[in-house]
């Protein structure tokens, strides 16, 4: 087709987009010439809310940042306030938090895998991934009482200790997930020729795009950059476990998918090591619910399931934060999205968008 193309609005409520992401694409024939990302549809003013709440009362708000990776953000917020107050948590708390963070990472990656299958038109896969996720959700529910937004952490520790017999339950859940990922998922996705046709060689994110836009996490590791905060800047109990940083070279949609699959297996490895050596002790130290935090600046970053998340907390010695800035990893991945959408087919655009794993809750904040 010669001449002017058309402008296609995708989203914010298009069923094939993730959450409320809006894409405005200039299309000629079947090719995306230019795409613009519009965000902000889920903006709830979380940074402003932080200035109005006590430090411990902010946990429920952090839960809804990345609603498929809530525990990761809870732990980051708890670590930030603890660092600002100069509190050192017990060893047991560090282990429990690491185990919970890794379980959340597996759950988050499973949602990614499921949503990705759905975007390719394979609904079976969505149901399968959620089936495995449910095993871990039940465990989180048994420990914390919550599922999607567990509200499990507090400043100085966690609310509840592990329940009796939970270690065996985690073990059997991990065994099942490992078996499914290695067999069923393999047949359905990463060694399935149809799946490979749909995902190989599209949406290539070069190292220049990654470095220009500050992309981190699995999206970056799929481009061959070997970096992981769990290894480079160990926090919690990550210095006590042995694991590999997963990298792929191709940096296409398939590579980004593979990184997640292999990271699930790596997380299982981490949890198993931790469960064997978890120390005894209290799960919280006594801190007042409403407390003053000494004035200053605190900067903490952790490896989230989607990349490097960080919090910059400014305190003035009062009961509430003076300013809190949240760095969302998906925010930066989305910044790179128009660049990798250029020149792709419209049908591939959905696969590419799904492959960078945007969660709008943390992008819009």
């Amino acid at each position: 087709m010669e001449g002017k193309g058309i402008e296609l609005n995708i989203g914010p409520v298009h069923p094939a987009t993730h959450g409320v992401l809006k894409l405005v694409a200039d299309i000629e024939a079947d090719t995306v010439k230019n795409a613009e990302v519009e965000i902000g549809f889920l903006h709830r003013g979380k940074e402003k809310t932080a200035e109005l709440r006590y430090f411990n009362s902010y946990f429920p708000i952090v839960d809804k940042l990345d609603y498929v990776g809530a525990l990761n953000w809870e732990i980051l917020w708890a670590s930030t306030v603890e660092k600002a107050m100069n509190i050192e948590t017990n060893e047991r708390v560090k282990y429990i938090r690491t185990i919970m963070a890794e379980m959340q990472r597996i759950m988050s990656h499973l949602v990614y895998i499921g949503a990705f299958g759905q975007d390719l038109g394979n609904l079976t896969f969505f149901v399968w991934a959620l089936r495995e996720r449910e095993l871990l959700m039940d465990i989180v529910e048994e420990i914390s009482g919550g599922r999607l937004a567990p509200m499990y952490n507090r400043v100085g520790g966690v609310f509840y200790d592990f329940t009796d017999g939970i270690v065996e339950k985690i073990d059997s859940a991990l065994l099942r997930i490992e078996e499914k990922v290695k067999k069923e998922y393999k047949a359905m996705t990463y060694e399935n020729s149809l799946f490979m046709m749909r995902s190989k060689g599209i949406g290539i994110m070069s190292q220049k795009i990654i470095k220009d836009n500050g992309v981190t996490g699995p999206n970056m590791r799929a481009g061959g950059i070997k970096r992981d905060l769990r290894k480079d800047e160990p926090y919690l109990a990550y210095d006590k476990v042995d694991f590999d940083i997963i990298t792929e070279e191709e940096s296409d949609v398939y590579a980004r998918f593979m990184v997640r699959i292999r990271e699930i297996l790596e997380s299982i490895k981490i949890i198993r090591q931790l469960l064997k050596s978890i120390p005894e002790g209290d799960v919280k130290i006594s801190t007042p619910w409403i407390m003053k935090v000494p004035p200053g600046y605190t900067f903490v970053r952790h490896e989230m399931s989607k990349g490097e998340g960080a919090m910059f907390l400014v305190t003035d010695g009062g009961l509430k934060p003076y300013r809190l800035k949240i760095r969302s990893p998906s925010f930066y991945s989305l910044q790179a999205l128009p660049l990798i959408l250029e020149g792709c087919k419209v049908a591939d655009a959905f696969a590419i968008t799904a492959s960078i794993d945007p969660v709008m809750g943390e992008v819009d904040r």
């Binding site: 903006h43 470095k211 500050g214 600046y297 003076y322 300013r323 910044q335």
Partner: protein, 151 residues
Amino acid sequence: MSEFIDSLIKISPKSLKISDDKVAVELADKKKLLKVCEKIKRKFDILFMLVVVDRPPNFELNYIFSKYEGKDTFILRTIIKHEDTIDSITKIFPSADWEEREAYDLFGIKFEGHHNLKRILLPEDWPGHPLRKDFVITDEVKNWTGLDLKF
């Protein structure tokens, strides 16, 4: 890391000094921002985040830089008046693109030389900049419906 900070301060001792909290390097002359950033670019890859803190009548801008190898980060702090503008660093650190738009959106800071400075999180006709300390919920905010937007 401290060597890098020392070398940076040696280059322009007048405009740079270590801040009182000893975590950031303060930039006194905001016109030197681009020059300093060019030097930082030699050691750091990305703008990790841009934290604006409103301390009326000033804004405090904390530029946090990071790199893809190792765990080093570096904070550059500069203070501007509410009505001042500041140079955009997107030409040196492209990852600052959306961060600067966000700062413009929520605080109303104008970045000179930014190629696409418009609101990012809030609708285009939203009244005011909500993360400012002097932001009050007026009738205009309460009655805002978004129906004036042209689609």
